[in-house]
Amino acid sequence: MATKTDTSISRRSFLKWSGAATAAAVAGGQAPVLHSLAYTGEKSTGSEPEYHFSACGMCLNKCGLVARVENGIVTKLDPNPKFLKSRGMLCARGNAGTSQLYDPDRLKYPLLRKGERGEGRWQRLSWDQALDLAAEKLTKIGEEYTRCGVLFTPGSDMQSQFVHWFAEVFGSYNVTTHESNCLLSRNRAYLDTFGEVPFADVLHSKYIIMAGANRFESIITPDSIDLMTAMKKGCKLVVLDPRFTKTAALAHEWFPIRPGTDMSFFLAITHVIIHEKLYDEKYAQEKLYGLDKLTEHVKKYSPEWAAKVCDIPAKDIRRIAQELAAAAPAAMIYPGRRTSDYVNSTQIRRAMAIANALLGNWDKPGGLLAARMVGTTGPELPEAPFYDDNPDDRLDHGSAHIMFDEEGSFKHTRDAIIAGKPYPVKGWFTYKINPLQSVANRRKTLEMIDKLDFMLTVDIAMSDTAWMADLVLPAPSYLERQDPAAGLQGSSACACVVTRDPVVPALFESKPVFWILRELAGRMGLEEYFSFTMEEYREQQLRKLPDSERALREDGVYYNPSKLYGIYEGKIYKTKSQKIELYNERYAEMGLDPMPVCKPLRENVPSDRFRMVVGRNAYFTHCTTQNNTLLNELMPENTLWIHPNPAKKLGIRDGGTVILSSKSGEGELKAELKKGIREDTVYMASGFGVLSEGLTNVFGKGACMAEILEDFTDELSGNMAMHETIVKVARKGAS
């Protein structure tokens, strides 16, 4: 079976499915067949467009899309109406994909650093020169410092698995991804409560509390879209957020909670549910572990106590707990995604997970869903070698209580590289990830880079990370590549598979990272591990899904009709007690709090300072799309959100320049006076204040989040803690 899917679609079939599909895919679907309405005047000239299926690569959601190609140019990206996970939509970023493809700022050929780091002097190399150099440098570091002397940092991309595979066969355990700056604390908390990380069945929920998440701006499919659909069907949304996000704006209730105190709120919710006996006792007896201990534990956490901690009135907490329990099990505390906020984030999320457990919503409609069967298979690859001279473990091993073996912690890895202990790391390979902008404490990242002998970056544009590298290799955008298949979980929407074939040939001299790694492997005596083609790889991935080839060709997506609810019926939970752990035995054994204990904040905000919080908007994917011409127009620079009252005291006017400083760095940006933020909190968007002059739209604009944020971490998971930074704000020119 050949799995190369020809994704071009004839116009006739395009019309056929675009007509048939939308009605099925879109809630309240409108029939898009417009033949009767078609404009019958003068026909446009030029050749007929071609249509190709692909999957969006502007963020991690991989929304199905249809690319229109006219005379060899991608002129438009539209949603694939058959793609259920995104509910047949494409967001602003997805629509701006053409601007990534045709960005004049794209990297065009291999570049070697000539001047000092960050000076921006480059020499153009041929691919052979570049690959020979990279192979030589990596081999040398491997020989001198062991194979673990190279750190690999792939971003979220459909080809990142080949960077992991290369690291494995090269012999380094030191691989970090974006995850330790993002969601590890949530994963930790849910694994340690339910034994797995859930998907939220937002669509069928009747009551959702969203804390530490901003689903209408930070788009996750299908949750963001399902949230609106659910609300239209009567689901109530309560948002806790120190700032008035668009999610807060559209919620039924918004509470500007004191940052970092969410645990108190959820312990109080648990208190009410337990003490008013609002849970299902039979369910609790069968499924929950440690309810008696929890009952005792939350006695002191009354709504009246919590109100003083979190700034939410006790009667509201009590009422919300009652409303939530009344809607259970089709009710949830939304688990969230980026939870890299506080030093006790895992325990905060544990408090939320425990409240969910009491709602009995696991594996049920409107609750938290277990992973479904997608059906893709890991390809059979040759056995990776073992290097006996390697150190026993990762560089960051043991630096937090319960780390994820494959993820580690970027922060702790960085500290270890700077210290040169427990062993030196002298090489860094990054692929489509931008830690210089996204990881707290930029100065430390620069310090870490100073310790390196060789840094290689593969990316589409000259990100700040590429700007600091020794060798920069140009990668094509997602529209110019052949990719492996990707299995996706879409909550109640679907379990599905997508893939990519080139919509247009790669521009300039750009080469996919798969090709780069295969070339490197060939130069380093590792060719046997990269002797497969992308077609063969994909064929292996799909070998158990015989219908997938046809579905991918005809619909751009394959669905696995696997079981959605009741997966756990008759099964044990993957926890130590084999039940849902309100009380975590492993934590107890390790001397950690087996149930979340509310402790004072690491640092209170002094009256002349602010807590800085960060968060997404719908236009930018973390620190990657700010320079995109189409998206940049929606937000040309970032601003500092500050409440008018403290602004007045500091003499700051709307649009005036302020200097923002912390213990780790400082930046200058314009103030935006907003009543929709607490008086003790400030906020800024990410991705500005760049170092790279190769990002022409954003260079010289706004301030850099990573420069201001201090690098605290979650004690349990080693995840970054990005809301622990206390900042000073001053009007520029004020003494």
């Binding site: 019309l15 019958t40 005047g41 467009p49 209408f216 509470f255 929606l634």
Partner: protein
């Protein structure tokens, strides 16, 4: 009954992601700094809201304030004056379009076949009279093409049987599109099943073909259509003339003449 293409918008679904704006911009090659469509917003009013359920915050000494949107089941729309509201929009393809009246050359016209307000690029002299005439600011002077560009409900896409770019891409499907005169269409059904409102300036109701489900906000932004007096008589006089001249293949001369005349008019207006 004649076809009248229209858009019905449920603005309470809008999450202000701006997908419709970017999609439109790419589809219609709208230059940087300009838009054919938009998402407007009503700013929230913080603090104690009249009629809000429970503004009990201060009583308990919490530094908190609550914005409560009305319950969906009791909804009369997001009419609560305290809550933020997003409102997608664009050219409303009015039944009584002021821009058509203001156009001195007949470049802007109401398409007989589908009821859209269209622009004939070849006839447009870029005078810009239609710009102040539109109460919605839906027209802009294209910096390269030297014409006054506007939304055409994605005519080229419709030729191919595709939905307008802003409609197909919308995550929450806030925009619905179709023939309002066809009782079987989704737009007609929505208008029939719901109370709808149209955003108009009371002094110049151009009878827009954009309907908002239940209610929407902000409502007070359309301006009074303005069409300079000389233009009005010129337009009425010149339009038949222009068409005649087009027939005679002597458009260029008249365009030059018209351009001079109009530039003068614009200056006198200032």
């Amino acid at each position: 009954m004649k076809t009248q293409l229209a858009m019905v918008i449920d603005s309470s679904s809008c999450i202000d992601c701006k997908a419709c704006m970017v999609s439109c911009k790419v589809e219609n090659k709208v230059p940087g700094g300009y838009w054919r469509n938009w998402v407007k917003q009503r700013e929230p009013r913080f603090g104690k809201i009249p009629g809000a359920k429970d503004p009990a915050a201060q009583a308990e000494g919490c530094r908190t304030w609550i914005i409560q949107a009305p319950d969906f089941d009791k909804v009369k729309g997001y009419g609560d004056p305290g809550s933020m509201h997003f409102q997608p929009g664009g050219c409303m393809h009015c039944a009584n379009p002021a821009c058509v009246q203001a156009c001195p050359t007949g470049a802007t016209y109401k398409d007989e076949k589908d009821g859209t307000v269209r622009l004939n690029d070849k006839l447009c002299i870029g005078c810009g009279c239609c710009i102040p005439a539109c109460p919605y600011g839906a027209r802009y002077r294209h910096p390269e093409k030297k014409i006054v560009d506007k939304c055409d409900f994605c005519a080229k896409r419709r030729e191919r049987g595709e939905l307008p770019a802003c409609v197909i891409t919308c995550p929450t499907k806030a925009r619905t599109f179709g023939n309002i005169n066809d009782p079987e269409s989704d737009v007609a059904r929505l208008v029939k099943e719901n109370k709808t409102v149209r955003v108009v300036n009371e002094e110049t109701d151009t009878e827009p073909n954009m309907y908002y489900v239940l209610t929407t906000a902000p409502m007070n932004w359309p301006r009074k259509a303005e069409s300079p007096t000389p233009i009005r008589w010129w337009a009425s006089l010149a339009k038949p003339l222009v068409w005649a001249v087009v027939g005679l293949n002597a458009l260029g001369v008249l365009v030059m003449f018209g351009k001079q005349l109009i530039i003068k008019d614009e200056e006198t207006e200032k």
